[in-house]
């Protein structure tokens, strides 16, 4: 037995040596096990392998929550050559700890500075670019087209039109908005949009970067608008005990007509029995016409850890995932939007509308919990939920957020 073990060890060692001699290993950690995203990633890997037969690609796919925990260890202990992660403030702790390496050269050599211009600010920190995005998706208002048709409503373009439409819905016993705030982040989507429409991208960005207080008159104005939305439009009852999936039920049943959500939710509507004719997408209405349109578009990206062993091929992969043809195919599979402005999009109507929307945007927010640091995001989203349940607590909530802000930044 001992002899067998010895030979086995020798064989393994030999094959490992042989492996490194003939093909270079490229280890990629990916963060989504859902069938669509997994297939999109695996197809891309196959294509990459076909183009680079000399690279031996090793893939580790984990589920999203597990990846979020694992990355904190593997970046130091056993770094892959490439890992998926999120831009904005989510990458900040790793950048600050020196665990990612800058990839400005990849952007330079491949012309990404032009093709991925919209996302460049989000991928940058300390004047350097840290990763390459492969996909993003739009946020906005998903609504029941059949209810709008019954009530003879058009897509509201402005705040007043939205409030008027809400009035008509309420007269007919329809709750205007559904939402499920149990896990908090959905409320942040509503906040982001009202703030982006009230104050614009720069103010929003300054807020999440800790440069503006929550009791600043501009942010208070955002909350005033939100209060108006809650009073004159209104959200479903009991939203604090529902997840975002639970909140689809009143939407599917026709009790509620609109849902501020990301494009990933379309699958949920279809699974709840709604057809493509019954649902439609519209941008969040304008509040202040002087404010340039900015949208919410969280991106997914790839990064190279500082401890990567095969940096050269890792950069090849990064250049590959942002190529127009790769992004086109990948995003068709996963039903999201390519970031490369030269890429094509699928003919899905939500994707088409999202593409038009994001192309017209002057700024792209990454979502409150990616733009703001973790501790701030948690306190902020709890504050949003508290405010939504009882709008009279507005100033208390904002003052508390100021205290948290003073401590976090």
């Amino acid at each position: 037995m001992f002899l067998n073990l010895k030979t086995a060890v020798a064989a393994i060692a030999l094959s490992a040596v042989a492996g490194t001699a003939f093909a270079r290993d490229l280890v990629i950690n990916f963060d989504d096990l859902n069938p669509g995203p997994k297939k999109g990633f695996e197809d891309a890997v196959e294509k990459f392998k076909a183009e680079n037969p000399d690279i031996n690609v090793i893939v580790n796919i984990n589920d999203r929550e597990a990846h979020k925990t694992a990355i904190r260890n593997f970046l130091t202990a056993d770094a892959p050559d490439v890992t998926s992660w999120y831009p904005g403030n989510r990458m900040a702790p790793f950048v600050d700890a020196g665990l990612f390496q800058p990839v400005d050269d990849v952007w330079e050599e491949n012309g990404f500075n032009e093709d991925l211009a919209a996302i460049k600010a989000t991928m940058s920190r300390d004047g350097k670019i840290w990763g390459v995005p492969y996909s993003y998706y739009q946020w906005g208002i998903y609504y029941r087209k059949d209810i709008f048709d019954l009530l003879e409503l058009e897509e509201p373009q402005t705040w007043d039109e939205l409030l008027a439409a809400c009035g008509k819905m309420k007269e007919n016993g329809v709750t205007p908005f559904t939402i499920g705030t149990k896990f908090l982040w959905t409320a942040a989507g509503v906040f982001d949009y009202i703030n982006l429409r009230t104050n614009g991208y720069d103010v929003h960005n300054a807020l999440t970067a800790g440069e503006i207080k929550y009791t600043d008159p501009r942010i208070v104005a955002t909350f005033d608008n939100w209060e108006q939305l809650i009073n004159e439009c209104g959200f479903v009852d009991n939203h604090a005990s529902m997840s975002w999936q639970d909140a689809i039920a009143p939407f599917a049943n026709g009790d509620a007509a609109m849902y501020v959500m990301g494009n990933f939710s379309v699958d949920g509507y279809k699974n709840a029995g709604l057809t493509e004719e019954q649902i439609d997408f519209m941008p969040f209405p304008t509040i202040d016409p002087d404010v340039a349109p900015a949208e919410e578009a969280p991106a997914d990206a790839f990064f190279i850890p500082t401890n990567a062993k095969n940096v050269e091929d890792a950069k090849k992969w990064l250049a590959f995932v942002a190529r127009p043809d790769v992004q086109t195919e990948w995003n068709k599979t996963i039903g999201q939007l390519p970031i490369n402005s030269k890429a094509d999009i699928s003919d899905d109507k939500f994707i088409q509308e999202g593409f038009a929307l994001l192309n017209g945007a002057t700024g792209l927010a990454q979502f409150y919990d990616r733009d703001a640091p973790a501790a701030m995001a948690k306190a902020g989203m709890e504050g949003f939920q508290e405010f939504m349940l009882d709008t009279s607590k507005k100033m208390d909530v904002l003052q508390r957020l100021d205290e948290v802000q003073a401590e976090v930044y």
């Binding site: 979020k68 202990a77 702790p93 149990k182 009852d237 604090a240 026709g254 501790a375 205290e403």
Partner: protein, 331 residues
Amino acid sequence: MADAVVTDTSTPTEPGWFRRNKLAIAPWIFLIPALIFFAIYVVIPIFESLWLSLYEWNGLYDAEGNSTAVWVGFQNYVKLWDDPNFWTSLRNNIAWLILYMLAVPAGLFIALFLNQTVTGMRFYKSMFFFPFVISQVVVGLIFGWFYNPDFGVVGTVWKAIFCEETTNILGNTTFRCERPVPDILSSEQWATYGIIAAGLWPQIAYCMILYLTGLNNVAADQIEAARLDGAKGWKMLWYVVVPQLKPATFIAVVVTVIGALRSFDMIAIMTQGGPFGSTNVLSHYMFEVAISEYGERYGYGSSVATVLFGIMLFFISYFLWRMYQDEKGGR
């Protein structure tokens, strides 16, 4: 070991050191494995987290494997003092401690009720014991559904009383309510009590089983004598039965206090500390600031853990002292 003993005895003149001290050493040899694991998994981490509470650390190491922690002294504790979430958690911990104590008398009465000989008693006993057997997570889920205003028992009953069924604009069935359905787990005032009620369910079962075994040891002759002296009902219970159940009561109180202080699973399952942090307790708050997705403040989390440890230490020391006193009393 046998080898060691043989070599020790090979010097014939006088017995070896090991031989002479055998009685003193043997217990320690048996204790060593337990002590090692206790040290690795309990004692050392306690000191590590005490130490960590003096740092500010997001849990990351840099590329060379050096910790990125920064020494901040007692600043974490200063922050804690000004943190409204901490005080909410502490208040909730106290609510848990007080209300959880209901499990002790409730368990006693169920035990008294079940302590009779009726056909099928074993079945009833096991039914009452059942909630303790199933996982706390499952209990949390069941109660979460129970309280759900849309499809839970609470919601359904409420709808039957206060709501009328109508059709909405699309002709689908919906409910119009005179009063909105109570949303217990999303209410700042009621959510904690809702979770405590769920937690009491298995805890009562635990206390019940402790008392049931205790009741087996109640001396029948004393009951007999008390009965002859005319003791009945409450007096019999309070002056004759309960004093004999003192050991069971002691254990029931200990497990209930510890259970209340370490309540975590139910909160994590039912509300995640929400709405807006109002159902947090120290153990869950510690998890939230240190390990959860929006936390990653390990130093701060450790300072919460230290406070919780202090509270636990107070109770545990008291219990140990009591036990020591009892044993000295020669029972």
